[in-house]
Amino acid sequence: MTSINQLIGISLAYVAFLFAIAFFAERSAARGRGGWMRSPLVYTLSLSIYCTAWTFYGAVGYAARSGMEFVTIYLGPSLVMLGWWWVLRKLVRIGRAQRATSIADLISARYGKSNLLAIVVTVMAVIGVTPYIALQLQSVTLSLTVFSGPEGVRDPLNQASAAFWVAVGLALFTVLFGTRNLNANERHSGVVMAIAVESVVKLVALIAVGVFVVWGVAGGYGPMLERIDASPIGEWQMDRSRWVALTALSAAAFLCLPRMFQVLVVENENERHLQIASWAFPIYLMLMSLFVVPIAVVGLDLMPAGSNPDLFVLTIPLSQGQSGLATLSFLGGFSSATSMVIVATLALSTMVSNHVVMPVWLTTQGEGAQVSGDVRNVVIFARRASILLILGLGYLYYRVSGGGAALAAIGLISFVGVAQFLPALLGGLFWRAATHWGAVAGLVTGFAVWLYASFLPSFGPDAALSASVLADGPWGIGWLRPRALFGIEGVDPTVHAVIWSLTLNTTMFIAVSLLSFPSPLERLQGAQFVNVFEHSTQPREWNAALAASEDLMIMTQRILGAPEAQTLFRAEARRQGLSGHLPEPTQGFLQTLERELAGSVGAATAHAMISQLVGGASVSVQDLMAVADESAQILEYSNQIEAKSQELARTAGQLREANEKLTALSVQKDAFLSQISHELRTPMTSIRSFSEILRDTDGLGQVEKTKYASIIHGEAIRLTRLLDDLLDLSVLENGQVSLNLETGRLEDILEQAVVTARAGSAGQLDIQRERTNETQVLTTDLDRLSQVFINLVTNAGKYCDAQAPRLRIDVEADDVGMRVVFRDNGTQIPLGARALIFEKFARLNDKEGSGAGLGLAICREIMTRLGGDISYHPEPTGNAFVVHLPRDVALAAQ
């Protein structure tokens, strides 16, 4: 049999081994070679701190008492892991995005970084978990006593001092490896590695005992099953309400226990690890519970009646003379206890120092973060003091409770206590309308119910609550009996506490959330949490202009340490493209910085520290409105600028058009000048040459003289007409023409035009008119209109090349007034020339050279002056010139 001293020696050697592992893990992590330590395997194994000494020893005892019910404690976490997609995925993503350091930090961050909420959660966690730590101390000392000798001769003082030394050792370990590095993400490679190793030890120990029991004692698988059925727990017995309630409770506790949050979320390096742990951790849990029933059955069979079933894992190997196996089993239980205590203490001390000690310290400093000195030392000191405080509380609790059976029941009671975080946690993850006051109300209500209905009665009658209160309720009010609230009796106490505390908690949480109104910061954080997969930017705003980089640098140095802070600031400065080591305090940088600091001191404290430097404690509604005002002004201003730039663009376009027009006009003017000189020179040339002939040639006959003189005369007339036309056009174009308004009938005007034209060149033209349509009376410059008509009829006479030239004049009414259409049956004007015929000097052919090409140009000018229009339309068998007369010209006289 292993002596107690040997056992202590083995324990010390084991602890030294753990120290070494943690030390090397820390060192290789610091050198950046810790990749293998951050594997999914280590993550999965670290989750096994769920299995404490309570489950290591207690599960067998539980099975010996209540059969399969013990397994519900493992079913809940298995379901949570298998259903990781629903909750854990989001929880881990948010925890990483927000750099949450603890569950209190996460809940406080969700509800507007409220420190009140963080303190409430911290206090609840300390009250709920400290007895659990005491339970671990108890299990270690209890297991030690098994080796110390037969029952009845144990010295209780020895137990107490053993518990004390265990607590001291654990405190030392936690202080050494839990507060070594105050790094930004609050991860502890050494601790995680050590608990991963411990989890292997406890699994191996339990399986070894199980294998020994099944194949060594019972004689194999088949006989084992027979032995199970023949045992006192051989028939299926269950309390159905407990089966459901305990499964749900263990699932809730798995999510809410501070130590589980630490390993699940805070120590999570990679979300992929969670995916793997989703099936790997249920394997661990299954293996942990696989041999529980066989061990319990064999223990009930072998051990004398009345022996403690909680210690079967140790006493069976001892009774069979397997002291080596018993020692291994002891180490398994020791590992379960120590790993739980270390992580739970670490998680709780983080909460206590971040949410209680640091805010208090910052307040007492007055100037807050701007005092001189290294805040990092204060944080680390606070963390260490908190560790000692929590382990001290655990030890005190163990001593005060006397280590009796009351403590053994604390496991489930503790679960119910921490499960009170569930409504606030899940509500925060999935319900945007959940508010700070709702969370506070729910937590406080649930916690009060838990204290009253579960925690205080667990000490037994007359310990915390008097026997009369337990039996009859306070002041004799039966409805308030702690274990029969609202008069509902006969329910299992744990189920009763679970149902009432969580129901009232959730009800208050929802009701107060619905009634209260969240602050802006809360609403922003709520959106961040609930929609974490949609966007990961931080909407919180800092008025960065007020924060000087130097101040931020000084503060960061004091929290992260000088080299880390300088690296951070330099990296940011480089990212901003600045050469120095101080970056601009941009919004993005302040948010990054806040997250970095939050990793060390918690979200609420980091927020408070930065806000002291930056100015605004948080974003108030006024701030938001000011920002909105400012943006509205900026928007308006930019709209104005946009309008102006559009106006400029328009003006530039107009200028460009004008320039093009001027260029075109200049080209036109040049063309006009060359045309006019050509047009003037042709008759001038013939006049000059014929007058020279008349002057210089002797002996000209009378006939010839007359002929030459007539040519000169004709040319002179042509010249005069050209000049007249030019003058006319010039007057018309310059707009100097004064219209001589008269009233006359269209028929008369047309008649005059036809007669005039016939007198000229349109002699053979067959002109067809519909005089009944020409009865309109017009008020316009009749002479000018007549000039247009004459021109059109003359042109038809001159250019119509048909065998029997014909001109048809129609008068038609249209929607803008009336039109006079001149249709001839000549050859159509070629397509290319149609655009030119109204231009000056445009002539279709040079036959007869009779016109100067100004006629239609003049017509168009006249019609423009008269408010009408003239256009050309090709006809199937000829051409049509359409003269539009505006309505007022036609109507004015009617």
Binding site: G35, P40, M68, I228, L290, E534
Partner: protein, 93 residues
């Protein structure tokens, strides 16, 4: 959010399969709850009611652990189907 691209109406076969695997993953814990809550219907009052055949403990133990094993295998298979092709190099980073 309105500015998100609309969900495509039809998916290619591979991503369709992937989404159905995710559905299965989501349903898995519900299946677990269903199967593990099945013992609620086993006769528990057998000791007091002679007409009911009690369920032997060995069978109960085997049932609970078989369900456990089945769920783990299903979770593992789904994980293999969904993510095992991702490069594990990212872990080291």
């Amino acid at each position: 959010m309105s500015n998100q691209p609309p969900t495509p109406l039809f998916l290619e076969r591979r991503s369709y399969r992937r989404r159905r695997l995710m559905d299965a993953l989501r349903l898995l814990p519900l299946v677990g709850v269903l199967l593990w809550m099945l013992p609620l219907f086993w006769p528990s009052e057998a000791a007091t009611d002679a007409a009911l055949e009690p369920v032997p403990m060995s069978r109960a133990v085997i049932y609970v652990f078989l369900v456990w094993l089945g769920l783990i295998c299903a979770a593992f298979a789904l994980w293999r189907g969904l993510w095992s092709d991702e490069t594990p190099d990212k872990d080291a980073a």
